[in-house]
């Protein structure tokens, strides 16, 4: 009962935190993207991926809709939209 407790690596993926979103989600327009990767760096969930220009997108299963990717994008290529 008092022994160490272990968890499997990366098992938090079981929590689909996308359900936390409060009515808004980011939309990756994929038109003016320069592949600077800043959105990947700033995402608290680590749920954005992409390689070349205009390929960036996020995993809505985990995105909590905080909108920092919108704030950091130097080309205004990410916008917040109504979440349906």
């Amino acid at each position: 009962m008092f022994g160490p407790i272990f968890s499997k690596p990366l098992s938090s993926k079981n929590n689909k935190t996308g359900s936390w979103r409060m009515g808004k989600r980011p939309k990756f327009l994929q038109t003016n993207c320069i592949a600077c990767r800043m959105c990947i760096l700033i995402c608290p969930e680590g749920c954005i991926e992409g390689e070349d220009k205009n390929t960036y997108h996020c995993d809505y299963d985990y995105c909590k809709g905080c909108g920092n990717c919108v704030e950091i994008c130097p080309r205004q290529d990410i916008v917040m939209i109504e979440d349906k």
Binding site: P9, S12, K13, L41, E45, G46, D59, C66
Partner: protein
Amino acid sequence: MREDILFASGHTACAGCGQAIAARLVIESAGPNTIIANNTGCLEVFSTKYPESSWGVPWIHSLFENAAAVASGIESALQYLGKKNIQVIAQAGDGGTADIGLQALSGMWERGHNILSICYDNEAYMNTGIQRSSLTPLDSETTTTPVGEKSFGNPTLKKPVAEIALAHGIPYVATASVGFPQDLQKKIKKALSIRGPKYIQIHVPCPLGWRHEPNLTYRIARLAVETGLYPLIEYENGVLSSARKISVVAVEEYLKLQARFKHLLNNEEEIKKIQEIANNNIKRYSLS
């Protein structure tokens, strides 16, 4: 999804959590050959909600105060086993670093362990309900420094933990911010290339405790640096080796976005005191 993930989605940090951004940047910069010891705190709680874990590297939590001691043991064991290519990180929030864990941390620095200690500085005990810590800034409202007729919030200045670290004679001390993610990554990589104890303090906005909109985490972190309130500095072998130049923004721009400072907005006298702190930093580190 990417296969190189070391800090997985699905953790239970609040939307817009600055600490979650920093924690991921740290472990992605450090790479997979890393062992982490973590003090109690928000990061420990939200990244390891039992029975799940967000970590893709060996990670251990023991108590609030002892990550530095646990990390010291891990580092010594690795040395005994002759495993030279494994890095050890001891990490904590501001409470776990500057208050509760300072003794173990001081011991780790003083004994000269080859460990990187990281402080995620969100300027109060956010996990337990926003109580002040010794890294809470002047005039910040917390649940233990409420604002009233005779109180403007926290009456004390931030404890100079970076200077305490420097006083131990350790080879690398730096401050970083999630507002400057590439700078943060560079500093983590640089620190890990140096043998001996290292200390990096990262400014991480907390939407819950600082009471700002979740999407402003990045902007607020940048403003803290641009006002001069959180200078990004680097000390190598006790000598100031870099200080990020800033465009100098008035402190009100930083304060007005956060409800923890909202009682200051018509109080010129108190704002002057905070501007003074920024001015002193700008002068001391030649930031402008």
